[in-house]
């Protein structure tokens, strides 16, 4: 406990190594994200309209990568938290905190694009389908995690509490997923016309993969920037503290 605190103060007093690495990575990462996104969107615009779904099929290229990022984001938070707790590496707390809102936004994006897609395809905005429901629950988990960070204003206490939640919550994710799958397959809603999985041929697959890569890099770029901001903020705080005690 004591050591972790010392670590944190030592780190914030001199996090030069991370900041150096980050400032070198920062530019290329954003450039790559923008390039991939632009190229991906260009490819998406040139995908032939689906014989069955028409142009709405294009929602897929946002929806599916967003859903991937929703899952990736939470795993990222989990591993960052474990690193922070077990290896007492405070950067893990910073990374987890920075990633949470990003992951939550991607989750929300998956929910919204899914809903938008559901309206023309299924004739309804929302079904209690297994996959949809588990994404909704994942969104709740994100919200709880973010709320916890915001609710505690002492950074060290907030970090510990949030890490505990991240780990406990991660164990919960597969349990929820499994039980919801099981729940819904048992009581399949007959009223909802379900879309057969589109067989993804290359026309669809490559743009999808490119968009997926773009979202991944975007996720990393935003998270990195947020981490840099967080470190700077903590640095300012340390400085303000030092200044205050010198003045006194």
């Amino acid at each position: 406990m004591l050591k972790a605190l010392e670590n944190i103060s030592a780190f914030y007093a001199n996090p030069t190594r991370f900041m150096g690495l980050a400032s070198r990575l920062h530019g290329p990462l954003w450039a790559l994200a923008v390039l991939l996104l632009a190229y991906g969107l260009y490819r998406v615009a040139h995908v032939p309209a689906d014989y069955q779904q028409g142009d709405t099929v294009r929602i897929m290229f946002v929806h599916v990568p967003a859903a991937w990022m929703a899952l990736f984001g939470y795993s990222f938070i989990f591993f960052a938290s474990v690193t922070a707790l077990i290896f007492r590496h405070p950067l893990g707390h910073v990374a987890a905190r920075a990633a949470a809102p990003v992951g939550a936004v991607f989750t929300l994006l998956a929910l919204i694009t899914g809903s938008l897609w559901g309206q023309p395809m299924w004739g309804t905005w929302w079904v209690w389908d297994a996959r949809l429901t588990s994404v909704l629950v994942l969104f709740f988990i994100y919200l709880g995690y973010i709320a916890l960070w915001q609710a505690i204003d002492e950074p060290t206490r907030a970090a510990r509490a949030a890490a505990i939640l991240a780990i406990v919550g991660f164990i919960n994710v597969p349990i929820v997923k499994f039980s919801v799958d099981w729940w819904n397959t048992l009581h399949q809603p007959a009223s909802v016309s379900r879309l057969a999985r589109p067989a993804l041929h290359a026309d669809f697959l490559y743009p999808l993969l490119i968009m997926g890569a773009a979202f991944l890099v975007l996720f990393l770029a935003i998270t990195l920037t947020r981490m840099q901001m967080e470190v700077l903020r903590q640095r300012l705080r340390v400085r303000a503290r030092a200044g205050a005690s010198e003045n006194a």
Partner: protein, 229 residues
């Protein structure tokens, strides 16, 4: 009785006594009845429908009463200094937490589950089917208490704590509700292979409870320690 056991028992008994004395026990039980009583007014009085929905509704009402009761599980102790006191007893803090959770199970969960048969009759469940519902609840409730306890502990030092508790605990409630309702439904349908099904569901619920029982005291104790100031 060793000193440690004596202390464990005292903490557990204190929690039960306070729940009773402050009316939380009676409040939770009457909350269950009131929710069940209000439902027909909201849903319209079709008895058949109510009967079909009854087990699921009872599970949801149980979960929500529990969630409401758990929201302030450690709050009062944190604010009035009783938690400080509990950190200075010659017992590991995990054991202290377990004593309180056990107290909560006895003081709130058992009375709630005891009230379920009567509430079930109000909703016209066939009496013969109630034992399965009650058994499922007994198996599943520890998981609900543990999950709510984690939420309450993480939220204890926090403005907007109530929200946090609910948000944090809710995802954990999903699997328990799913399997609990499934067990109850299977129980209501009757049949030969149903017994197998019900057994499997109860097993899953018990497994969830056992797992959370292993994990939660540590998570809760760590969260409460982190909240100290």
């Amino acid at each position: 009785m060793t000193t440690q056991r004596r202390i464990f028992a005292a903490i557990c008994r204190q929690h039960i006594r306070l729940s009773w004395r402050n009316g939380q026990t009676v409040l939770a039980v009457s909350f269950l009845f009131i929710a069940i009583t209000l439902l027909p007014f909201g849903l319209g009085p079709e008895l058949k429908l109510l009967r079909a929905l009854a087990p699921g509704l009872l599970w949801v009402v149980l979960a929500i009463s529990l969630l409401t009761s758990l929201e302030r599980l450690f709050q009062a102790d944190y604010e009035d200094g009783a938690l400080d006191r509990l950190l200075l007893v010659p017992l590991s803090f995990e054991a202290v937490v377990l004593a309180k959770l056990l107290g909560h199970y006895v003081a709130l969960v058992l009375p709630l589950i005891a009230a379920v048969p009567l509430a079930g009759l109000l909703l016209n469940i066939e009496a013969a089917r109630l034992p399965i519902l009650v058994a499922a609840m007994l198996c599943g409730a520890p998981a609900l208490v543990m999950a709510g306890g984690i939420g309450a502990a993480l939220a204890v030092s926090v403005r907007r704590g109530g929200l946090l508790t609910v948000l944090i605990a809710m995802p954990f409630y999903v699997p328990v509700l799913i399997f609990g309702a499934a067990a109850a439904r299977a129980g209501l349908q009757g049949g030969v292979d149903v017994a197998v099904d019900v057994g499997a569901y109860l097993g899953v619920l018990a497994a969830l409870s056992a797992a959370s029982l292993l994990l939660a005291p540590f998570a809760i104790a760590a969260a409460l320690r982190a909240a100290l100031r």
